[in-house]
């Protein structure tokens, strides 16, 4: 199988779905990039100067043209709202929010609109829209460009929320998200774009709501998403050498959530660590802890351990930011402590 980066996998998913289904359109700021520049008309007619700020969509305009790859002004409510309206009426738009941190300027178009149409209109509407964007800290992008609000998205009924951790997953889940009939918020972690992994050439789907056990083990279950999965894996690999057997469960989608996949692992280990970058309060860790404490209580041998950032904005300075992000060390220490208890 070909080795590709997470970034390439995202683009490949978009390209293959756009090829397969001409109702799929991309909408966002600089998703092509370079409109009305000062370069010569000939050059402007060919370049994709940005292809998204991180180059994820670069190449798609050349392939699909301006009616499928739609550059917009800086106007997120209109981007997401337009995508929602287009989705209700026959397109399958993929709107790019660039940084998910920007949800605050446009969330009504998901929260009160796209997410609710199907239910509120008695099942008579579908809104097959994907809103893509970046999450995550680690780049000193500071307080307004480093957040991971998938917990907020996950609390909204009617919307599905995907938070993939690997190149393989990101492609299969994005294709599935585009084909899904419900609105999907698709969260790509900045720290993963350069991550490489095996990605099949063909279009394939991964169902939403099915967890992936990235490590199998019997002593402790670590539940983690996105960039945190790799930290959990590292801890599992390290501790295995010492005879501690750690299972790592990556739910991959926050909503729907593979409750069974989580509870099964907890039933077998009885010890739980949840690692979550979203929030110190009302986060994914809390949601899953509540699930376990209510549904798998009798399997638990020890308190559930939550590893989250502190309840603060993301600080800019590298040492502060490193202290903010859940670390391998904290995860390892938590697992060790659970084994002692």
């Amino acid at each position: 199988m070909a080795i590709k980066t997470y970034r390439e996998a995202v683009k490949e998913a978009l390209a293959q779905e756009m090829e397969r289904d001409e109702r799929v359109v991309l909408i966002g700021e600089d998703v092509r990039g370079g409109q009305a520049g000062t370069a010569s008309p000939e050059k402007l007619a060919t370049i994709e100067a940005f292809g998204g700020v991180l180059g994820v969509t670069k190449g798609l305009w050349t392939q699909f043209g301006s009616s499928r790859v739609i550059d917009t002004p800086i106007t997120e409510s209109a981007i997401v709202g337009m995508a929602a309206g287009a989705a209700m009426t026959g397109l399958r738009p993929v709107a790019e929010l660039m940084f998910m941190d920007f949800f605050g300027v446009c969330y009504d178009m998901i929260y009160n609109q796209a997410a609710k149409f199907r239910y509120m209109f008695g099942g008579k509407a579908k809104t097959p829209l994907v809103m893509r964007g970046m999450i995550g800290a680690g780049f000193s992008a500071a307080a307004q460009h480093s957040q991971s609000p998938y917990n907020i998205f996950g609390s909204t009924p009617g919307v599905k929320v995907v938070v993939p951790s690997s190149p393989y997953d990101v492609k299969g889940l994005l294709i599935q998200s585009i084909r899904d009939e419900d609105p999907v918020i698709f969260c790509e972690h900045k720290a993963l774009y350069e991550l490489k992994g095996e990605v099949p050439e063909h279009a394939y789907t991964i169902p939403l709501g099915v967890a992936n056990y990235t490590r199998e083990g019997t002593d402790v279950t670590i539940i983690a998403l996105s960039a945190m999965v790799h930290k959990a894996n590292a801890v599992a690999d390290k501790l295995l050498k010492e005879g501690i057997s750690v299972e790592v469960v990556d739910p991959r989608t926050v909503s729907p959530l593979d409750e069974e996949g989580i509870l099964e692992s907890v039933a077998s280990t009885g010890r739980v660590v949840i690692v979550d970058e979203s929030s110190a309060r009302f986060g994914f860790a809390h949601d899953v802890a509540a699930l376990i404490a209510s549904q798998a209580f009798h399997h638990l041998k020890a308190p559930i351990v939550l590893i989250t950032p502190p309840h603060t904005p993301v600080p800019f300075s590298p040492p502060l930011e490193q202290a903010w992000i859940p670390s391998v060390e904290r995860i390892e220490a938590a697992v060790r402590k659970l084994m002692e208890a």
Binding site: V80, A83, D182
Partner: protein, 320 residues
């Protein structure tokens, strides 16, 4: 006048349907049978109908919290609407939406919307669909004078201009947003001129005159269908009832509504403008028919069953 006699009769029928529907709701609501909030459209019938008589079911509209008139004009079934407003299983949204969320996508009605300014971003999306599929469809958004100050609306106008979308932005200036006058809330006191600043043609029309609305929209729709981009139309009209049912309208002049009912009634104005083509008898007959239809809709809505409690879990992907 470019309209045929059947078209004129149809326009009157629609306007009267709205009138009869709303005035009946006013009574029913006083009786206390209707759940939730109700915002009546009476007095503004010429706008909804003047707009929608230019549209086909392939065209889309997006509406407001004051949406009954838009729904009726766009072809939603009156029985289904009434049942919805009463919260019944037979309602257009099976009782899940209510007055502020009536939708009917088959009729090109994208939904009433209880978020002020919610419709324009969605409608430019419907317009994008039409443009992308090349089907000559248009999208029409309704927004009030109060709603015209919402950021969502400005963004949608700008986007429509940039992408040259087939969108018509209708601003229903009925003088008030809740209890606040448009002269207070609209910077520059001129919605039309503000829209023009976004780079599209914009006109102000007399919103109690069906023909004024109809002609302005006709031109805008034609331009949009031909790829000429968006238009804004500000229709000046009057709200006869309170913001919501229950508002005592302390902020309005004494006798104002009575005067409006006498002088600014879109139906009366229509009648007087069509005296040569339509007889009172013909129009009265329509009214009689519509009254019966509304009666039937109300009795049916009252008799119909509520949705079963288990429906709370249908029409959504989650099962808990």
């Amino acid at each position: 006048m470019s309209l045929t006699k059947p078209e004129l009769l149809q326009a009157y029928r629609k306007m009267y349907e709205i009138r009869a529907f709303e005035e009946r709701l006013h009574l029913e609501n006083t009786g206390g049978d209707i759940p939730g909030f109700i915002h009546l459209y009476t007095g503004e019938e010429a706008i909804a109908v003047g707009v929608c008589e230019n549209l086909t079911p392939q065209d889309y509209i997006g509406s407001t919290h004051r949406g009954h008139g838009h729904c009726i004009a766009k072809g939603c079934d009156i029985r289904g609407m009434m049942a919805e407003i009463f919260g019944k299983e037979t309602g257009l949204c099976r009782g899940k939406g209510g007055s502020m969320h009536i939708a009917d996508l088959e009729q090109g009605m994208l939904g009433a919307n209880a978020i002020v300014g919610g419709a324009p971003p969605l409608v430019i999306g419907a317009s994008l669909t039409a443009k992308t599929l090349g089907n000559k469809g248009v999208g029409v958004s309704f927004t009030g004078d109060g709603g015209s100050n919402q950021g969502l609306v400005f963004e949608a106008m700008n986007m429509a201009v940039v992408l040259q979308l087939p969108t018509i932005f209708i601003f229903e200036n009925n003088g008030f947003g809740e209890a606040t006058g448009h002269d207070y809330a609209v910077g520059g006191r001129n919605i039309t001129r503000r829209a023009e600043g976004f780079g599209m043609p914009a006109v102000r029309v007399d919103g109690v005159d069906f023909f004024a609305v109809y002609e302005a929209v006709k031109e805008a729709v034609q331009r949009a269908r031909e790829g000429g981009g968006p238009t804004a139309i500000e229709a000046m009209a009057y709200r006869w009832h309170g913001h919501f049912e229950g508002d005592p309208m302390l902020y309005r002049a004494e006798g104002e509504v009575e005067r409006l009912r006498a002088e600014k009634d879109p139906l009366k104005i229509f009648r007087s403008k069509t005296r040569k083509q339509l007889s009172d008898a013909e129009l009265d007959a329509i009214e009689t028919e519509v009254n019966a239809l509304v009666d039937e809709a109300v009795s049916k809505a009252k008799a119909d069953p509520y949705p079963p409690a288990e429906n709370v879990l249908t029409d959504v992907y989650a099962s808990y």
